[in-house]
C-alpha cells in the first residue's frame, strides 16, 4: 500500500530541530572546529532535511513501493539479464568479517578477502576460457574501457603505435563506440547482413595495420550467434589486431561455449548480469576483465596474486595503469563469488540452455502477433519489430506502457537501432513456464487491444503510480534539484 501522505520529497518533511541520529558524547570538546581559520570554513548554512528516524524509514519504504524489481515480477529487459538475485548472496556480502576492512590495511589481516578475490578471478578464467582476470573495473562500460586500454598497451609494448582504430559492428550497443572514444581510439563501423550477423565481406577491406582490434558481442544484440566468429577472429588476428568480447550477452554461453575458445583475446563480464548480483537501480555492478595468455602483465594495478600460501596485491610496471582506487566493487565481487559457489559446476552448465529455451519459447509463441524480422533459433534474447498489425498506429512504446498495467516490466524498446519499432525480450533461466505463459497471454491480449481499443493502449499505463510523463518539458527546461523545484512553485 502506498500512503499518499508520504508522496513528498524528504525536504518537505523537514522540521527545524528534529534529528535522526545519535552519536556518543564528545569527551574531547576542548578541541573545537571553531579554532580553524574562518576563511577555510563553510559560509552558507547547510540546508539538509531535519527528520526523525521513523519518518525517514516510512519515507523511503513508501518510495520503494513505487518501484518494480525482479522480486516484484517478470522483468524481460533485453540485454540486461535481469535474473534472480539470490538472498544468500546478500547475507554473505554483509558478513561482519569483511565489511569493516580498510582497503589499505596490512595484507596479513585481509588474507580471507584476498583469497575470495583470487578464487573468483580463477573461476571467471575457467568459465570464459581465458588466462587471467582483474576484478577492478566497476561496471560493464568501465570493463570495456579497461579492455581497450589493455589492447592499446599491448600494441604499444611492441612499439606498434600506428594502431589507433577499432572495428565495431553497426548493431553494437552505444557503449562500445563511446568506450573507444574515451580510450582515444577511432571507430570504424562494420555492417551487418540481413540476418543480423557481421558481414565478413564488409569486414575484410577494413582490416589493415591501423586496426588495434575489433569489439564484438556474441550472441549479438539481436540474440543471434555470430557463426562466422572463427573466421572473423582469424582475419583480425592475421591483420595484427586483437579480438574484444563484450560480455553483455554471456549468459546464454554458460555451459555451452567459452569466449576464449572462440578466438577472443580480451573480454569483460558484467557480474550484475551473468553472475546474479543485483542491479541496484543502475549500480553498483562490476565489470571484470579477462585476457588471453601473454596479455596478463597489461591488466590494471593493483592485481591480486598468490605467492605460496599467501595472497598479495602487486603493482606491475607493464600494466596499463589504474582504473579504480582500490580493487573494484568488493561487495559485488562477494555476491558473485557466493553465486558461483552456490550454482557449482553441475548447475552452471544448465544456465545457458534454459535461458535460451525460455527466449525461444516466447519468440515462437508470439511471432504470429509480433513482427519477427530475423527468424531461426535465437539465443538468450530476440527482437520483435513492433506489432505485426500496425494499422491502428499503436507503437512499441504503447505496447511497453500497456505491459506495465498488467504487472510486467517492459522489454528493452527502440534498441537495437536496426529496426524502427524494436522490442527486445530477454527472459533469463529463472523464469518458469507458467510465468512465460502469463506474459505470452498478456502480449497477445495487448495485440488484440491494439486493434480493438487503440486509444486505450496509446494512453497506457492506467494503473501505475504515475502516468506517462512529459519528458520533452523535462529536457527543454531541466529542473534537477529541490532548490530549482521550489522556484518553480
Amino acid at each position: 500500500m502506498n500512503n499518499v501522505y508520504y508522496g513528498k520529497l524528504i525536504f518537505e518533511l523537514s522540521k527545524e530541530g528534529r534529528r535522526g541520529y545519535s552519536l556518543p558524547e564528545n569527551k574531547l570538546n576542548n578541541y573545537k572546529l571553531a579554532d580553524m581559520p574562518e576563511a577555510l570554513m563553510r559560509q552558507r548554512e547547510l540546508d539538509l532535511p531535519q527528520v526523525d528516524e521513523l519518518t525517514v524509514v516510512r519515507h523511503y519504504t513508501n518510495m520503494s513501493n513505487n518501484n518494480f524489481g525482479v522480486d516484484t515480477g517478470f522483468y524481460p529487459l533485453g540485454s540486461c539479464t535481469m535474473k534472480y538475485n539470490p538472498k544468500i548472496n546478500e547475507e554473505m556480502c554483509h558478513h561482519y568479517a569483511f565489511t569493516r576492512l580498510h582497503p589499505l590495511q596490512n595484507e596479513n589481516t585481509v588474507q580471507g578477502a584476498l583469497k575470495l578475490y583470487y578464487e573468483l578471478q580463477n573461476m571467471l578464467s575457467e568459465l570464459s576460457g581465458l588466462s587471467e582476470f582483474t576484478l577492478n573495473p566497476f561496471a560493464g562500460a568501465h570493463g570495456e574501457l579497461t579492455g581497450l586500454m589493455v589492447m592499446r598497451t599491448y600494441h604499444a609494448s611492441r612499439g606498434d603505435n600506428k594502431r589507433t582504430k577499432v572495428i565495431i559492428p553497426d548493431s553494437a550497443h552505444g557503449t562500445n563506440p563511446a568506450s573507444a572514444a574515451v580510450c582515444g581510439l577511432d571507430v570504424v563501423v562494420v555492417k551487418s547482413r540481413p540476418d543480423g550477423t557481421v558481414d565478413v565481406e564488409d569486414l575484410k577491406p577494413l582490416l589493415n595495420d591501423e586496426i588495434a582490434g575489433m569489439m564484438m558481442t556474441n550472441p549479438n544484440t539481436l540474440g543471434i550467434f555470430e557463426h562466422n566468429i572463427a573466421e572473423i577472429a582469424s582475419l583480425v588476428h592475421e591483420a595484427g589486431g586483437l579480438m574484444y568480447y563484450d560480455g553483455a550477452n554471456l549468459n546464454p554461453m554458460l555451459g555451452m561455449c567459452r569466449p576464449g575458445d572462440l578466438g577472443f583475446d580480451i573480454m569483460h563480464i558484467n557480474l550484475h548480469k551473468t553472475f546474479s548480483t543485483p542491479h541496484g537501480g543502475g549500480g553498483p555492478g562490476d565489470g571484470p576483465v579477462g585476457v588471453r595468455a601473454g596479455l596478463e602483465d597489461f591488466l590494471p594495478n593493483p592485481h591480486v596474486v598468490k605467492d605460496g600460501d599467501r595472497y598479495t596485491l602487486t603493482f606491475n610496471d607493464k600494466s596499463l595503469g589504474s582504473v579504480s582506487g582500490f580493487v573494484g566493487n568488493y561487495g559485488v565481487i562477494m555476491r558473485a563469488y557466493a553465486y558461483i559457489r552456490t550454482i557449482g559446476k553441475e548447475n552452471m552448465r544448465m544456465v545457458g540452455p534454459l535461458a535460451v529455451l525460455n527466449a525461444n519459447y516466447i519468440k515462437e509463441s508470439l511471432k504470429d502477433c509480433f513482427e519477427l524480422p530475423i527468424g531461426g533459433v535465437c539465443k538468450h534474447e530476440f527482437v520483435f519489430d513492433g506489432l505485426k498489425d500496425k494499422s491502428t498506429g499503436v507503437t512499441t512504446l504503447d505496447v511497453a506502457k500497456r505491459l506495465l498495467d498488467y504487472g510486467f516490466h517492459a522489454p528493452t524498446i527502440y534498441f537495437p537501432l536496426l529496426f524502427h519499432e524494436a522490442l527486445m525480450i530477454e527472459p533469463t533461466e529463472n523464469e518458469s513456464k507458467e510465468t512465460l505463459d502469463g506474459f505470452i497471454e498478456v502480449m497477445r491480449t495487448i495485440a488484440r487491444e491494439a486493434k480493438e481499443q487503440p486509444d486505450m493502449v496509446k494512453s497506457a499505463p492506467h494503473t501505475t503510480p504515475v502516468r506517462r510523463l512529459d519528458d520533452t518539458q523535462a529536457a527543454l527546461h531541466p529542473v534537477v534539484n529541490y532548490a530549482e523545484l521550489k522556484l518553480e512553485n
Binding site: M63, F68, Y96, Q105, A230, P284, R468, L469, N481
Partner: protein, 443 residues
C-alpha cells in the same frame, strides 16, 4: 534434474522444446559450430548448500582481522546508521534496474532527485549528476570534461597534493584519452602557488585540479585560484572529501567550476574498498558536458509531480562515440545510501561528525607529540581529521606492533619516516589513549 534456481520440470522442457520445434536443449545451439562448443564440465567447485556456503564465508572471514582504524587515505571509517542497510535491502530498490520505465520507477527516480538536491546543497554547486563509480573515476571524468569544454586545449594541471590513489587513475585516463597532465609542485605539504601561477599563465591549460582537504589532511587556502583559472579560460576543479563539506568552505565558495570526489565518507562502510559512490557537481552552463545520468522533475498526464531521466541525448546509447562519456550506469544504490545518510544526519549531524573527528584527530596528534617520538610533518598547517607525522623510529615495526598489541591499523606509511594518520568519530578517547600508550611502548 532439479535445482532451486531453475523452475523447469522435465515435462516443461519437453513441452517448450516442442513449441520451438526442437528435440533437445543441445539443438538450440545447433547454429554454433561443434568445434566451438564446450564438451566438458567446467573445472570449478561443486555446488554448495546454504549451510556449506555460510561455513565457507566463515572460514574466509576467519582469515581477516577487523582493526581499530587510524587510517584514511581516501577511505574513512565513519558511523553508518542501521536504518540505511535496512532500507537498501528492500528488493524494490535492490533488484530494479536503471529507471527507463518512469511510471514504475518513481522510487529510484525520486531518491536520485533527492541525492542530486543534497549533493548540490553540500557542494553549493548548481547541478549534480545521478552519481558515478567512485571518487577517482569521477575526477578523471571531470578532467575529460574540462578538455571537452576547452575544445582546442588538452593540458590539465594537477596538484601534487592530491591523493596518489586518485592521481594514478587520472594519469591512466589521461594517457589513453590524449590529455597532457602536468603536476603543480607541492611545498610544505600544500600546493605551490608560484608554480601554479607560472603554469596557468601559459594560457594553454583546460583545467586545474586540486584537493580539499589534500592527501596530507591539510585544508589548503585556494583564495584567488578560481579567478586565475577563469582569467586563463581554464576550469577550476576541486576534489573534496564529501563529509568535510558539512563544515569546510564549499567548492562553490572557492569559485570552482566542477566539484568531484568520493561519497564514501558519508557513512558508507569501508568494505575493503567498495562499492563506494563518486559525485560530480557543476554549474548549470556546463550541464550538457556533464557525464552520467541526470534526473529531472516534470509532470505526468494528470499533472502530478514526477521524476524522469533527462538530457539523455548526451549519453552513449544515443551519441555513441560522440557522447560526453562512456558511462551507462550510475552507482544508484550507493547514491541512495548517502541520501539516507544525509537525511538522517542533517546539518547538525554532519557538523557533529566533523566536530568529533576534528577533536579526536587533534587530541591524537597532541598526545603523540607529547611522547616526544613524533613530530608534525607540516607544522602549523590546519587539518580536519587526517595528518602526517614524522616518526622517530622504525615505522614498519611500529605498525606491526600496533597490529599485534592494539589490534589497530596505525596509519599509512608514506615515504621514509612519514606516517599518515586519521581519526574519525568512531574512535573513543579510551581507544586513542590506549593506542598512544602502546605506541610509546613500541618506540
Amino acid at each position: 534434474m532439479s535445482y532451486k534456481f531453475f523452475p523447469h520440470t522435465d515435462d516443461d522442457i519437453r513441452s517448450m522444446l516442442s513449441t520451438c520445434g526442437e528435440r533437445s536443449l543441445e539443438d538450440l545451439y545447433k547454429d554454433i559450430p561443434n568445434e566451438l562448443v564446450l564438451h566438458r564440465d567446467y573445472d570449478i567447485p561443486e555446488a554448495l548448500s546454504e549451510i556449506e556456503l555460510r561455513k565457507c564465508f566463515d572460514q574466509l572471514g576467519a582469515m581477516n582481522t577487523s582493526l581499530a582504524c587510524f587510517i584514511g587515505a581516501g577511505c574513512y571509517d565513519h558511523y553508518s546508521p542501521s536504518v540505511i542497510d535496512s532500507i537498501l535491502s528492500r528488493s524494490e530498490f535492490l533488484t530494479s534496474y536503471t529507471p527507463y520505465q518512469a511510471e514504475i520507477s518513481q522510487g529510484t527516480l525520486q531518491y536520485i532527485f533527492e541525492y542530486q538536491s543534497m549533493m548540490t546543497e553540500l557542494t553549493g554547486m548548481e547541478v549534480s549528476n545521478a552519481s558515478m563509480y567512485d571518487g577517482c573515476t569521477a575526477t578523471a571524468e571531470a578532467m575529460m570534461m574540462a578538455v571537452a569544454n576547452a575544445k582546442k586545449r588538452n593540458k590539465v594541471l594537477v596538484s601534487e597534493t592530491i591523493n596518489p590513489i586518485v592521481l594514478r587513475v587520472v594519469d591512466t585516463y589521461a594517457k589513453f584519452h590524449g590529455i597532457e597532465v602536468e603536476r603543480i609542485a607541492a611545498k610544505d605539504g600544500v600546493t605551490c602557488r608560484a608554480d601554479f601561477e607560472a603554469k596557468i599563465a601559459k594560457g594553454d591549460v583546460a583545467g586545474v585540479i586540486v584537493a580539499a582537504p589534500n592527501f596530507y589532511g591539510i585544508v589548503e587556502d585556494y583564495t584567488g585560484w578560481a579567478d586565475l583559472c577563469h582569467d586563463n579560460k581554464a576550469l577550476f576543479i576541486m576534489n573534496c572529501n564529501a563529509s568535510s563539506l558539512g563544515v569546510l568552505k564549499t567548492p562553490a565558495e572557492w569559485g570552482a567550476d566542477i566539484a568531484v570526489g568520493d561519497g564514501q565518507s558519508l557513512g558508507i562502510p569501508m568494505n575493503f574498498g567498495g562499492p563506494f559512490v563518486g559525485y560530480l557537481c557543476t554549474s548549470k552552463k556546463l550541464i550538457r558536458k556533464m557525464p552520467g545520468r541526470i534526473v529531472g522533475a516534470t509532470k505526468d498526464m494528470d499533472g502530478k509531480r514526477t521524476f524522469v531521466l533527462t538530457l539523455q541525448a548526451r549519453e552513449q546509447h544515443i551519441r555513441r562515440e560522440k557522447a560526453t562519456s562512456n558511462i551507462c550506469s550510475n552507482q544508484s544504490l550507493m547514491a541512495l545510501y548517502v541520501t539516507i545518510y544525509m537525511a538522517l544526519m542533517g546539518k547538525q549531524g554532519l557538523r557533529e561528525v566533523n566536530e568529533m573527528s576534528y577533536s579526536n584527530a587533534h587530541y591524537l596528534a597532541d598526545k603523540l607529540l607529547e611522547t616526544g617520538k613524533f613530530e608534525m610533518a607540516y607544522p602549523g598547517k590546519p587539518f580536519l581529521h587526517e595528518f602526517a607525522v614524522k616518526v622517530k623510529g622504525d615505522i614498519d615495526a611500529l605498525q606491526q606492533g600496533m597490529l599485534d598489541k592494539a589490534q589497530a591499523q596505525f596509519g599509512l606509511k608514506l615515504d621514509g619516516d612519514t606516517l599518515l594518520l586519521c581519526a574519525t568519530e568512531t574512535l573513543s578517547k579510551e581507544e586513542i589513549d590506549n593506542a598512544v600508550k602502546v605506541c610509546n611502548s613500541l618506540l
